[in-house]
Symmetry: C2
Subunit: 70 residues, 2 copies
């Protein structure tokens, strides 16, 4: 999973939950500007920043062995 995919997942999940970027910022403690950067795909967040956001969205990171060796 690439960074852009992660960003899209975040955007979709937030939409699904019916909260705004501002809400996500307030609850996660991550700056609004940063969340905008991430959701538009222009961003390279640190793990901690990403995890803060994912937590609010009820999601989590996982690391696994690649199934398909492209």
């Amino acid at each position: 999973m690439h960074l852009v995919d992660i960003c899209n997942k975040i955007k979709e999940r937030r939409s699904l939950l019916g909260i705004t970027q501002q809400d996500l910022s307030d609850i996660s403690g991550v700056g609004l500007r940063t969340i905008k950067e991430i959701e538009t795909g222009n961003g390279n967040p640190s793990i901690n920043t990403l995890i803060k956001i994912l937590n609010v969205l009820g999601m989590e990171l996982d690391v696994q062995i690649k199934r398909t060796i492209k």
Copy 2:
């Protein structure tokens, strides 16, 4: 999955593959010091840095809905 778990997975996987931190650094293009930081748990890498490392280890990131709401 927390940051510390990710760090441990990286460390274990590198060990399993029988390569050194130096090797991982050379192949991934991520600085040796950065890799050391990550493996010892003192680190907050950006997603891109993390992905570079995971690629070399044949691993990948995934984002998913939390199964257990602790």
